[in-house]
């Protein structure tokens, strides 16, 4: 873990926060699972080309909020979302929005690496194929190569693109999943505890990767590791029991939280 330990967080975060326009604007987001209200009205603006970390104790609704942003909650039976979420000004819960196009703009990386039981190449080519992004084989090859390169996996797999993606190590699989998400050129990438199944070295690789991806993408990451949030993010949102308790620059949240509960959580007194 030490390889990436405490980057000059304060500097980047402080500099970044002011300059970036909000990419995602959510207002009064409530989520119900059946009768149960899991989120009680969340207002959260996510800045463009920044990493926003969502932290909070287990069951507080981080994943639930994350899944609202690409409407993965639609797949969950009995789940209902209220309030408004706008990406670049478009309400993504509007009837006219096609969820397929939305998910092409908002990619997602899951907690457990879930490569398809296909070859490495096919895994990355999957998204471009269904969206018809590539014209012909050459362009597809290019997309696959550039996605794998940006995910920092190209060197390791370039000689075995036709081998199954499930044959890679856990960390490689997760980077493959990131490459798969990048391949459709999303604007926003959602990551739900992307490192929780990985060892410290693989985690460090992914954290570096996230830092590099920040140049081109807006990233929202859920994490249980305070250090990770401090290392990779510019903005941090603290959730508790379905409420957004505090949201601000990462440096401020970790050094000078305004709320009592945030203070208690980041110092490890609960959660």
């Amino acid at each position: 873990m030490n390889t990436v330990a405490i980057k000059p967080v304060a500097a980047t975060a402080g500099a970044a926060s002011g300059n970036h326009a909000p990419k995602v604007v959510s207002q009064g987001v409530k989520v119900f699972y059946g009768e149960k209200e899991a989120l009680h009205g969340v207002d959260l603006d996510i800045n463009e080309r920044e990493v926003t970390a969502l932290i909070g104790p287990s069951g507080c609704g981080k994943s639930t909020y994350l899944r609202c942003l690409n409407r993965m909650n639609d797949v969950v039976e009995g789940c209902r979302v209220e309030g408004s979420i706008k990406i670049d000004g478009d309400d993504i819960y509007d009837r006219r929005i096609d969820v397929v196009q939305l998910r092409a703009r908002v990619g997602m990386v899951f907690q457990k690496p879930n490569p398809f039981p296909k070859s490495i190449y096919e895994n990355v080519a999957y998204g471009p194929r269904i969206h018809g992004i590539a014209q012909g084989k050459n362009e597809l090859d290019e997309i696959v190569e550039s996605s794998l390169t940006r995910a920092g996996l190209w060197k390791e797999v370039k000689d075995r693109l036709d081998k199954p993606g499930t044959g890679l190590s856990g960390g490689q699989q997760q980077r493959l999943c990131i490459a798969r998400a990048i391949a459709v050129s999303p604007e926003v990438i959602l990551m739900d505890e992307p490192c929780s199944a990985l060892d410290p070295i693989a985690t460090a690789r992914i954290e570096e990767l996230i830092d590099e991806l920040r140049e081109n993408y807006t990233i929202v990451i859920v994490t249980h590791s305070m250090q990770q949030a401090a290392r990779v993010s510019q903005r941090t949102a603290f959730f508790h029991l379905g409420d957004l308790v505090e949201y601000g620059d990462t440096s401020q949240i970790f050094t000078n939280p305004k709320e009592e509960r945030t203070q208690a959580y980041i110092t490890g007194r609960f959660g």
């Binding site: 039976e77 969820v99 397929v100 998910r103 092409a104 899951f110 879930n114 039981p117 999957y126 998204g127």
Partner: protein, 459 residues
């Protein structure tokens, strides 16, 4: 004493041994269970096993061996001229004796030596029964004392009992395997017998099936036993059945597992599985009384000559019978595809049908092929529907509207005649059975292999 009574006594002794063993273990430990190596019931079981197992083994052996020995003694004591009789006459005499022993009525005069032999057999049997009772119960008692004496707090009763349990399980699986081996061997034996009368190449490559029942037993009337028409009938009907069952079964499985609402699934799946529980005779009925005539009438109205019993009717009905196998197994396999793969695909913007086509189905395909192969072997073994729907005429035809027949049907019809058991007309049934067995076995092995390969992918 009858063997049932002896069995009851041994079982009672076993129960008593359990109680005594348990008490004794407690007594040796002075009532402190912690001082014992194992918990008291294990000591009980230990003694009970010693009491029951040797005695029961002896009982079993006795029941099997004793009649043979008695029979042999009695037969050897028959007068020499009787023993010198030709085998069929001798077996008649033995039947008479047997009938006398069992107190059944006999026809005609009973010779004196037969009466004598019957009396001897009865007295021998009575003595033997008593000997058995004494020996078996004695052995149980010895086992009980032996086991009970060995009880001490340090005795590893649990380990002994569990090892005995393992051996019991091994014995059970051995019985299952040995039975299969026995069946195969007996078939193999009769098949070889058959091939000594009909050359194998005539059987395996013969194009004509004409066993000539009426001429059986007479010289120079071997008949023709070509396997090909029967095998073709089997393949043809199974093919039609698969054409019906695979698309319907697979699509309904996809609907059930991917699209259907939970409540729909909860109702439809059991309903489909009920189809699997309908006896095949009933399907045969349906084919015979409804579908066959329907096809014939439709055929007649468009100027086709469809026979009332046809490969098509049998195939379609058999396909309907197999639908639940395909759909139920495929549904399980599709459900076993991890949700995370679907989520991964949805998150990339794939629609549900794209996800099914490109992720779920490819992942499930090997398993689905396995389930289809299992269904095929089921179709190959099916008899009743074919008899009723496709007829019994062995024809080598490509016309689905013609009647054909299958291997299984011919096995039944060859064995249900009034023929001697060593004519090629009956023995051919074993050759057919063995061939069928080999085919389904290979199919099953292949199917299991595929299913297993698929399993390895997610672990």
């Amino acid at each position: 004493m009858s063997s049932t009574l002896v069995l009851a006594v041994v079982l009672l002794m076993m129960l008593a041994s359990f109680v005594v063993g348990r008490q004794r273990a407690l007594a040796t430990a002075g009532g402190h269970t912690r001082a014992l190596h194992s918990r008291p019931p294990y000591y009980g079981s230990y003694v009970a096993l010693w009491a029951a197992v040797p005695a029961l083994v002896l009982l079993l052996l006795w029941v099997v061996v004793e009649p043979m020995v008695v029979d042999m003694v009695v037969r050897n004591s028959l007068p020499d001229d009787v023993r010198a009789l030709p085998p069929d006459k001798l077996s008649l005499v033995l039947t008479i004796i047997d009938n006398l022993v069992r107190g059944r009525a006999t026809v005609g005069d009973v010779p004196a030596y037969a009466k004598e032999a019957a009396a001897r057999q009865q007295s021998l049997h009575a003595t033997a029964s008593w000997a058995m009772a004494v020996l078996v119960i004695g052995l149980a008692a010895i086992g009980f004392f032996f086991g009970a004496r060995r009880i001490a707090p340090t005795l590893r009763a649990r380990n002994h009992v569990e090892r005995a349990a393992t051996w019991g399980l091994v014995a059970c699986s051995a019985i299952a395997i040995l039975t299969t081996v026995g069946i195969v061997c007996s078939m193999l034996f009769e098949t070889l017998h058959f091939f000594s009368m009909v050359p194998p190449q005539d059987f395996f490559f013969g194009l004509v099936w004409d066993p000539r029942f009426s001429a059986a037993g007479r010289d120079g009337s071997a008949g023709q036993f070509g396997l090909i028409p029967l095998l073709w009938g089997t393949v043809f009907i199974s093919l039609i059945a698969m054409l019906v069952a695979v698309p319907i079964g697979l699509l309904s499985a996809i609907y059930l597992s991917e699209y259907a609402h939970k409540t729909v699934r909860a109702w439809v799946k059991p309903l489909l599985e009920i189809l699997a529980g309908i006896p095949t005779v009933v399907y045969g009925f349906f084919a015979l009384s409804t579908l066959g005539p329907l096809f014939r009438d439709i055929g007649a109205s468009v100027g086709l000559d469809v026979s009332a019993t046809s490969a098509l009717t049998a195939g379609v009905v058999m396909g309907v019978m197999i639908i639940p196998f395909v759909s139920s197994l495929s549904d399980d396999i599709i459900n076993a595809v991890p949700q995370s793969l679907r989520d991964g695909s949805y998150a990339l913007g794939a629609t549900q049908s794209e996800t099914i086509k490109r992720v779920v189905m490819p992942a499930a395909l090997p398993g689905i092929v396995g389930s289809v192969l299992l269904a095929v072997s089921r179709a190959i073994g099916e008899t009743m529907i074919v008899v009723m729907a496709a007829g019994i005429a062995a024809k080598l035809t490509l016309n689905p509207f013609d009647s054909v027949t299958t291997v299984t049907v011919k096995i039944v019809s060859q064995l249900t005649g009034d023929l001697e058991f060593n004519s090629p007309q009956t023995l051919v049934a074993f050759a057919l059975g063995l061939t069928l067995f080999a085919v389904t076995l290979l199919l099953n092995i292949y199917a299991l292999h595929i299913v297993r390969k698929y399993r390895e992918q997610y672990d």
